[in-house]
């Protein structure tokens, strides 16, 4: 199979996943108990029956369910995710306006976690030292401590008690430090453990011994040989976790009071703003599918064995 053909198949499969996800979301959200009309009309409003009918017609809520479903899928195909009941803006524009902040956060957190994990695994793989024990302890803590709890502690101490990193004010990198750390730590532990295990394995492989017998320094063996092996699972995990980072942003954004996709998601879930929930769900699923395809392609760059296997 050529790469192009496989890519095509993957995209097709991804599209199927998204279609199924959309249908699932539609079904689930159809079964929700609250009255969309009141959600649409918002908090302090009094809705007369005439207004209600008008709104139902405007949002297509008066039509049979299959027609609604058809419309729903049709609109998604045109890149239209509907209109928020609450904000009365198009879901696409809401996601668009909130996306930047969350993506910046998630990407920074991924880079942060990946960098830290690379550092941790390169320095501690195959060795037993206090640094390794310390790293293991940090990993264990990062895996076992709820992200909001880490965030609260960081916020309380590093922003409020000792105002080192502001959480509001200028939109500089400094206000990003704590949220990125919080979100990044949530995946750092797993990432680091997997990468180090892989690196431990790579360092025990004969090729590492061969490299050493060529007079390579320990550092070169780690950076030039073992790290590439560790990066393969590292990338898989990062890709898998990128989606969960978008979800993790819900918590981080809430703790730090940041705007973003997570904030509107939580808001939409609590207010049952159905189009937004569906939009976010589809969007995140789409991100997941895309990152997976991207990582598959990236593998080929890193792992020549896969390259020629399908060539």
């Amino acid at each position: 199979m050529t790469i192009a053909r496989e890519l095509f198949v993957r995209i097709l499969a991804g599209a199927a996943v998204l279609w199924a996800a959309a249908s699932l979301a539609f079904i689930v959200l159809q079964m929700l108990p609250s009255d969309p009309v009141q959600v649409i009309y918002g908090a302090d409003a009094t809705v007369t029956p005439e207004m209600r009918d008008l709104i139902r017609a405007e949002y297509g809520l008066d039509r049979p369910i299959w027609e609604q479903y058809g419309q729903f899928v049709g609109r998604i195909l045109q890149g239209d995710l509907g209109t928020s009941y609450q904000q009365r803006r198009s879901v696409v524009s809401i996601i668009g306006s909130e996306l930047g902040s969350t993506i910046t956060l998630a990407v920074s957190a991924t880079i942060f976690a990946l960098t830290l994990a690379v550092f941790a695994s390169v320095t501690t793989a195959g060795r037993r030292s206090h640094v390794r024990s310390l790293m293991s302890a940090i990993e264990l803590l990062s895996i076992s401590t709820p992200a909001f709890w880490i965030g609260l502690l960081l916020l309380t101490f590093l922003s409020f008690q000792w105002p080192i990193f502001p959480v509001m004010g200028d939109n500089s990198w400094r206000s990003m430090v704590l949220p990125v750390t919080t979100l990044g730590l949530a995946i750092f532990g797993t990432l680091s453990q997997v990468m180090r295990a892989e690196m431990d394995l790579a360092l025990e492989q004969p090729f590492a011994l061969t490299a050493r017998t060529r007079g390579l320094s320990e550092w070169s063996v780690r950076w030039r040989h073992a790290l590439r092996h560790a990066l393969i699972p590292g990338l898989t995990i990062s890709a898998e976790m990128f989606g969960s980072l978008l979800a993790g942003a819900i918590i981080t954004e809430r703790v730090f009071g940041r705007p973003g996709l997570g904030r509107i998601t939580l808001q939409a879930v609590t207010n049952q703003d159905i189009p937004v929930v569906v939009g976010v769900v589809l969007f995140v699923a789409a991100i997941f599918v895309t990152t997976n395809i991207a990582v598959d392609l990236l593998y080929r760059l890193i792992d020549p064995r896969l390259r020629s296997a399908t060539a």
Binding site: L32, L140, P146, I250, R254, V269, V281
Partner: protein, 288 residues
């Protein structure tokens, strides 16, 4: 084909592993003790808790930790220690319950898929792929949005979000076992497939999964705390850790003990299950 192990510098490797295991030991004992304590708290909270977790005592409002209230009191004068102790049962309930459901359903799906193969496998794994496309927290939130908030709904939400992962693991394990030398050996002996399934495939699939699920309990507790924190869990005055932390968030500077102790307990519970789960995993793999 011979002597494959020689270039792997076995002496270094083996001793390193031994050393690692040696270092883990006091940690494991500690983890087991913590879990045992939490188990007692979860099953018989009234044995441990000195006060009623819901009992108001407005005269004892906002007392810092002291001998009479070792974790202090909250604004309504409720004993934080007693609340934290009672909170263990919710975390255990969700952690064990959600994992149990997820593992059982995961086994059913993964086994059916792996054993039957063909279009059943294809259909099941497509569905699992779709479900895996959603981050588990988001999926749990969507489920909670549908079922409503509350501890049991959180349990279900976490279970549902965890099922696809387990199903995938079971399926791949089944495939590995099915292609293993000993299943082939059974086939060569003329063993009927159903007996092979029950005698070899099932036990060898479930074993590792049970081990893995101990780790799952920790992450289920973590998830339930997160959902509670987001306000999707049980309602106040339920002494659920995530909820207590969420309520205590505003007190972190004025009355730190209200939020800190539930947080510490949640972290302890998760760490302990993780440490113990890993140990059991290492142990079972070492003995295999």
């Amino acid at each position: 084909m011979t002597d494959l192990s020689s270039p792997l510098s076995p002496p270094e490797n083996a001793s390193l592993r031994k050393l690692r295991r040696g270092r883990l030991r006091p940690g494991i004992v500690l983890a087991a003790l913590v879990l045992a304590f939490l188990l007692v708290c979860g099953l018989w909270p009234q044995l441990v808790a000195p006060y009623d977790p819901y009992g108001l005592d407005l005269l004892q409002s906002l007392k810092p930790p002291s001998w009479s209230h070792i974790f202090g009191t909250d604004q309504l004068g409720r004993d934080i220690f007693s609340r934290v102790v009672h909170g263990a049962s919710y975390s255990l309930y969700v952690g064990v319950g959600a994992t149990l459901i997820a593992v059982c359903v995961g086994i059913a799906i993964g086994l059916t898929s792996g054993v039957l193969g063909g279009w059943v496998d294809l259909a099941f794994m497509r569905v699992v792929d779709i479900l895996l496309a959603f981050p588990s927290l988001l999926m749990s939130m969507a489920v909670v949005a549908f079922l409503g908030t509350g501890i049991t709904n959180i349990l279900l939400a976490i279970a549902i979000a965890a099922i696809p992962g387990y199903a995938r693991i079971v399926r791949s394990q089944v495939l590995v076992i099915r292609n293993s030398g000993f299943v082939e050996a059974a086939r060569v002996l003329g063993q009927p497939p159903l007996r092979t399934l029950l005698r070899h495939i099932l036990p060898n699939t479930i074993g590792p999964l049970v081990v893995l699920s101990t780790l799952g309990i920790g992450s289920a507790i973590l998830h339930s705390a997160s959902l509670s924190y987001l306000g999707l869990g049980p309602k106040p005055p339920t002494p659920e850790w995530g909820l207590m932390l969420s309520e205590g968030q505003g007190y972190l500077r004025a009355a730190w003990w209200i939020g800190v102790f539930p947080g510490v307990f949640a972290t302890l519970a998760i760490i302990s299950t993780t440490v113990l789960g890993r140990y059991i995993k290492a142990y079972s793999e070492g003995r295999e």
